[in-house]
């Protein structure tokens, strides 16, 4: 398990810290615990997603400016997942999801569902939120969700021996705490 609130830039990705953060925590996890990429899946979760990229592209478009092809490339979470899959030879499923409540639980549960597949041994679970921009703040307030005030990412590797997800109330920081409490079973 590893967390980060800042990260070095990632080649090919610009402006937003979303993909560099994902890469930083995932990279650390996977380097410290190498495994068979053909039997590994990745689940990435974020309530809002990469609002920095989305809103920068939107601002350019609304302002009548030419779009940056790099923003097109990194506009979906698939881009950084694809980067990681190439880096570590991961050929299992790549999943990206958003849940308004209990995102940590949903990520662990998605990992458990993936591990029902006998062709998979482990799932890299990554949660990431960026400090909320104006749009994310307005949206999250409507949803009665506290807007994040800083960038934050957490990654953990879940394998067949990991404890099952317990339902209820896990945000990303609770997910990190849960992982820290179970170091024996979450590498």
């Amino acid at each position: 398990m590893t967390t980060a609130s800042s990260a070095e830039p990632l080649p090919g990705f610009i402006e937003s810290t979303f993909s560099p953060l994902v890469n930083a925590v995932a990279h650390r996890c996977l380097v410290e615990h190498p495994g068979d990429g053909t039997r590994t899946a990745v689940v990435l979760g974020s309530v809002v997603g990469d609002a920095t990229t989305t809103d920068l592209a939107s601002t350019l478009m609304v302002g009548g400016q030419v779009g940056n092809p790099l923003l097109f490339m990194q506009a979906t979470p698939n881009a950084v997942l694809g980067y990681l899959s190439k880096e570590f030879g991961i050929t299992g499923p790549l999943v990206a999801l958003s849940a308004t409540a209990d995102l940590g639980f949903e990520l662990l549960d998605a990992a458990a569902v993936l591990l029902d597949d006998p062709e998979l041994d482990r799932v890299l679970v990554v949660g990431v939120e960026l400090a909320a921009n104006d749009r994310a703040t307005a949206a999250l307030r409507e949803l009665d969700v506290p807007p994040p005030t800083e960038d934050y990412a957490v990654a953990l590797l879940v394998d067949r021996d990991s404890p099952a997800a317990e339902p209820g109330g896990q945000d990303l920081r609770q997910l990190a705490a849960l992982a820290a409490q179970n170091k024996g079973s979450t590498p």
Binding site: V48, P77, G82, V113
Partner: protein, 380 residues
């Protein structure tokens, strides 16, 4: 593992709402591309998209709701606490544009993907889990795969899976900046002269249930979901693996789950078929890897040739199209096919639909980052 069945669906494409509109357009081999009136296309390399028209797209929440209403109505299904609502969406981008323009009364929360799943669950009275899947062109297929896993493992008895994308300027501008859009006004999957994709309106919802639960309430399954799989290319953040490796792996997982590892019982494939330079030959090679010497005899078509690319909705809309092929005994064509490409040398059902006695159909999708999905349906 328990059996998963489809008991209802709702669908909307540029041809209109409902299955008959799909039959008329997609199975008729008619494309829906026209200059879009939803925004000023002057800054872009093309004016064309496949839409239902209008000056602005409907709210995604409403379109998802209509499709889900149709799906549960067809299924005679009432959602409850054991029903998951899983939606493939990246959020409502038209709402984002209005927010950035400073318009009043914008439902800005609808730009958060999970909000659309929450709203759909509330509309259906489903109090179980709600998730949005955000992984681009495999988003709604991934939602369906997740639902199949939840149901087959006994964690849940039912799910409503949906996806929606309606043409708007945000994504149009992004795809234009990436030079991914065709300049020819139509798209020509598997043709030698293909030059890219065009976007289209699409939304659909399906009701998935355990076969036991469907039987218990006397519901008639429309199809069984007998196989599902996902896999990644580990190749490039934007381009597919040139040999279609991840696609073949995803299909392989689905076929092994269905007890047919060599795909001998697959009668039709609804391809991803984006009409981009890289996708179509990669997909061809991936399917040749799966089917071996039988590949020449398996009909494969790209219905994006009629609907356009539906982004997050592609998986669920194309599953519905595959379901109609299964139930109607008709294969939808690859429209707009002109010169054949030797690198795309499958039986692509060129330009005209074809009657066929199909028992098993496969629907495949691929996305940025090398993500691939496969869903296999069987006639009851």
């Amino acid at each position: 593992m328990g059996e998963v069945v489809v008991t209802g669906f709702g669908v909307r494409t540029a041809f209109g709402r409902g299955a008959d509109a799909v039959r008329r357009g997609v199975f008729g081999g008619v494309h829906a591309f026209a200059p879009t009136t939803r925004f000023d296309t002057a800054p872009y390399r093309t004016r064309f998209a496949a839409t239902t028209g209008g000056d602005k797209p409907d709210a995604l929440r409403d379109v998802l709701g209509e499709c889900a209403d149709d799906a549960v109505g067809m299924a005679g299904f009432t959602a409850g606490e054991d029903t998951a609502v899983l939606v493939g969406t990246a959020g409502d981008f038209a709402a984002l544009t209005r927010f950035r323009r400073g318009e009043a009364g914008v439902e800005v929360a609808d730009t958060v993907p999970s909000r659309l799943a929450d709203l759909l669950a509330a509309r259906l009275g489903a109090t179980g889990r709600r998730l949005a899947f955000t992984n681009a062109c495999v988003a709604s297929a991934t939602a369906i795969i997740h639902a199949c896993g939840l149901i087959a493992s006994g964690r849940l008895e039912s799910a409503v899976c949906a996806g929606a994308y309606l043409v708007e300027e945000e994504n149009f501008a992004k795809f234009d900046s990436g030079r991914a859009l065709s300049r020819g006004g139509v798209i020509r999957p598997f043709s030698a002269d293909r030059d890219g994709l065009l976007l289209g309106d699409g939304a659909a919802a399906v009701v998935l249930e355990s076969a036991t639960a469907a039987r218990r309430r006397g519901a008639r399954p429309l199809a069984g979901v007998v196989g599902w799989g996902a896999a990644s290319d580990a190749h490039h953040i934007a381009r597919p693996h040139p040999e279609g490796a991840g696609l073949a792996a995803a299909v392989g997982r689905a076929l092994r789950r269905a007890g047919d590892p060599d795909g001998l019982r697959v009668d039709y494939v609804n391809a991803h078929g984006t009409a981009t330079k890289h996708n179509d030959p990669a997909e061809t090679r991936g399917l040749r890897e799966v089917f071996g010497t039988r590949a020449d005899r398996v009909p494969v078509s790209s219905t994006k040739s009629t609907t356009g690319h539906l982004l997050e909705a592609a998986g669920v809309v194309e599953l519905v199209i595959a379901l109609l092929a299964l139930s109607d005994g008709v294969l939808p064509p690859t429209a707009n096919l002109t010169g054949p490409d030797p690198d795309c040398d499958l039986d692509v059902v060129p330009n005209r639909s074809r009657e066929a006695d199909v028992r098993r159909v496969l629907s495949i999708n691929a996305a940025f980052g090398g993500a691939n999905t496969a869903l296999l349906l069987e006639r009851p």
